[in-house]
């Protein structure tokens, strides 16, 4: 039972940069630079990191919506890194993705019933028209919408309602894993809580595994059991949620935590302000990617990339400070 449902090993994605009329490759964007993790059944894994660190590229390549340039992906023990399209199609029934923007991820010309029914039609699940209709009504109810919404178009709904429609569509084929790429970031504060609660209830009900991406640490901490912190294409720290908040080890994780503004005016927060900007993934700095902004930088950090090593129980960190 504790075998991972999804396992990613040294996943890498580089985008070539082409120049000139001959479209010669002059360099690479190192978007995802060798990340590894396991997702257990029923677990929620969170991926947190700042804009451009490679979160979306990581999930797109593990779903093979774009082809990874290195590493391996295992689903229920099977290596699917090079599986043919026919196998991928079956795989994508089990692995569903919800995107950030509920406005652009629904086709404006399709009725809600068509959007939700689309995956069922592609994979030919329920046969009769009545069964299809019943299933759509059931899914709408599950995400807290009225069944009669099935005949309406996306523009008739608010952002939160559209995100619910996307969730209903993701559930249509009884997936095992749902990947949420910033699933609540585009929603208003008073609507975010509704969608977060809904996703958590559905997870319990259907024993789903979640991989949730967000730049918002509070959202990740609330939704997830285990957190991966990503910086410039690499994981710098992995730990259980409470452990990560109480005992962050990597200087980047610490800075990220101290940059959170708690909704509590009395509480004086000691911020570790990071100097400078995130370097470009086109020419990432040698050694540890974080060394250009780190307050604890040593000579070795400029030369050698620290491996992710276990530094407490189930607590992994990639930092030379902890490598003695």
């Amino acid at each position: 039972m504790n075998d991972p449902i999804l396992k990613v090993d040294a996943l890498e994605k580089r985008f070539p940069i082409k120049k000139g009329i001959l479209r010669k490759t002059v360099g690479y964007v190192h978007a995802v630079d060798g990340i590894s993790f396991e997702l257990k059944p029923g677990e929620s894994l969170g991926l947190v990191g700042e804009s451009g660190c490679g979160k979306s590229t990581a999930v797109k390549s593990l779903l093979r919506l774009i082809e990874p340039t290195g590493g391996n992906i295992f689903f229920e023990g099977e290596n699917v890194t090079h599986s043919p399209l026919s196998r991928l199609r079956k795989l994508r029934q089990d692995l569903q993705i919800i995107f950030q923007d509920p406005y652009s991820s629904l086709n404006p010309r399709l009725k809600v019933s068509q959007s939700i029914g689309e995956p069922m039609d592609i994979f030919k699940t329920p046969v009769s028209r009545q069964a299809r209709k019943d299933r759509i009504a059931e899914l709408l109810e599950r995400v807290g919408l009225r069944p009669e919404f099935a005949d309406r178009y996306p523009h008739e709904f608010s952002g939160g309602q559209r995100q619910r429609i996307c969730i209903a569509r993701a559930l249509a084929l009884n997936p095992k894993v749902i990947i949420g790429d910033e699933p609540v970031s585009a929603l208003d504060v008073s609507i975010q809580a509704q969608v977060i609660n809904l996703m958590k209830h559905l997870q319990e009900e259907f024993n789903l595994s979640y991989l949730i991406i967000s730049h918002d640490l509070a959202v990740i901490e609330h939704m997830c059991d285990r957190i991966c912190v990503m910086y410039l294409g690499r994981f710098v720290e992995i730990a259980d949620d409470n452990e990560m908040i109480d005992n962050p080890l990597h200087p980047y994780t610490r800075a990220l935590l101290s940059a959170v503004y708690e909704p509590n005016p009395g509480q004086k927060q000691n911020r570790t302000l990071l100097a400078g900007d995130v370097p470009s993934p086109i020419n990432p700095p040698p050694g540890c990617h974080f060394h250009t902004r780190c307050g604890h930088v040593k000579e070795i950090c400029r030369q050698l990339s620290p491996p992710l090593t276990e530094s407490g129980q189930d607590h992994f960190v990639a930092c030379h400070l902890y490598n003695s």
């Binding site: 700042e50 804009s51 608010s158 939160g160 309602q161 208003d188 504060v189 008073s190 609507i191 975010q192 809580a193 509704q194 977060i196 609660n197 958590k200 730049h215 640490l217 509070a218 959202v219 901490e221 609330h222 949620d241 409470n242 908040i245 109480d246 800075a255 990220l256 935590l257 101290s258 940059a259 959170v260 503004y261 708690e262 909704p263 509590n264 005016p265 009395g266 927060q269 911020r271 302000l273 990071l274 400078g276 900007d277 995130v278």
Partner: protein, 327 residues
């Protein structure tokens, strides 16, 4: 102390294809010297329209100011001529926008753009203005400001561009800085840098700041007083500690309870977040009576019949809710 800015009963309409929407309905507030006034509220509640109206940057049509006064040290800005208003914008009141790329010109270097502000408002020579712009870039912590002054905006990261915007806005030491979601498009670690910078410059220059955001966490650590807006209205107005310690309006309370806190889960493992049910009503189709009625767990008969006024409930504190009506 006299307020530096008084906004009184400001109402703004927009003519849209679907009909007329009232984006602001009798918004009133004061801004005192040296303080930071926070404006929070969800998307579309009228935060940016408030800011743009103060500077008279609302496109008219479709926009129209239907009533109100905006008094800068007693002088009504709505009665000023276009050229008088231009001499106030960027000089006595300046603004930082959410997306710096849309407000910086792509064809001039950032140094030239800051220098232009100096020349326009302070009549400096080219040489003075150029050294002034390098000095401003240094004040907003841009590394190697002499070189950075020669960059075009697209050569800079989002965080750098936002710092350039701040440099431009503060070049003439304005009395009032309006910051409209200045960090929303930025990463959290960059957000912390920018907010820290704005605060320090405010301390140095003693200006007043109107800080607009939808992020309650950010407001808690930047504002002295806070206005909570909902569908074009002020629902509650209070000192920051009072607002967070004892939110009064059911909407404010709901907002406070619905945000996830990092580390809060430990106390009550895996609890649900509190939700505000329903959704924000459309400006085209507002309910009778209180506009929060349909989402409120405390709704009474009177709430359906009449919209409450913004009533004083404690010293320095107002709230638009029948629950706090004193007989």
């Amino acid at each position: 102390m006299e307020p530096v800015l008084e906004v009184k009963n400001l109402s703004v309409d927009f003519q849209t294809f679907e009909g007329k929407v009232q984006a602001l309905d009798q918004v009133s507030f004061d801004l005192y010297p040296g303080e930071t006034l926070g404006i929070v509220g969800e998307s579309g509640c009228g935060k940016s329209v408030t800011a743009l109206t103060i500077l008279q940057l609302i496109a008219a049509p479709p926009g129209r100011i239907t009533q109100g006064e905006i008094l800068l040290e007693g002088m009504d800005l709505l009665k000023l001529s276009g050229s008088k208003m231009r001499s106030i914008r960027g000089n006595r009141i300046s603004m930082i926008f959410q997306e710096p790329m849309t407000s910086l010109s792509p064809v001039f270097t950032v140094g030239e753009q800051i220098a232009e502000v100096f020349r326009l408002h302070q009549g400096m020579s080219y040489k003075e203005a150029a050294s002034g712009s390098v000095e401003m870039l240094a004040r907003v912590n841009i590394p190697d400001p002499v070189k950075a002054a020669l960059y075009y905006p697209h050569q800079m990261s989002g965080g750098m561009r936002q710092r350039v915007m701040i440099a431009m806005a503060l070049a003439c030491k304005p009395d009032i800085l309006i910051a409209d979601e200045p960090t929303t498009a930025l990463d959290v670690t960059i957000q912390a840098q920018i907010i820290d910078r704005i605060k320090q410059l405010q301390n140095d220059m003693g200006m007043s700041v109107i800080f607009i955001t939808h992020d309650l966490g950010v407001i808690a650590h930047t504002a002295d007083r806070v206005i909570v807006m909902y569908v074009g209205r002020i629902l509650e107005q209070a000192f920051v500690e009072d607002l967070f310690n004892t939110p009064l309006h059911p909407y404010t309370r709901g907002l406070m309870e619905s945000i996830p806190h990092a580390g809060a889960k430990r106390k009550g493992k895996k609890h649900d977040l509190k939700e505000i049910k329903g959704m924000v009503p459309s400006l085209l189709d507002l309910p009778q009576g209180c506009k929060f009625l349909e989402r409120c767990s405390k709704a009474m008969d009177i709430c359906r019949q009449r919209e409450p006024e913004l009533m004083p409930v404690a010293p320095g504190r107002t709230c638009r809710c029948w629950l706090y009506k004193k007989e």
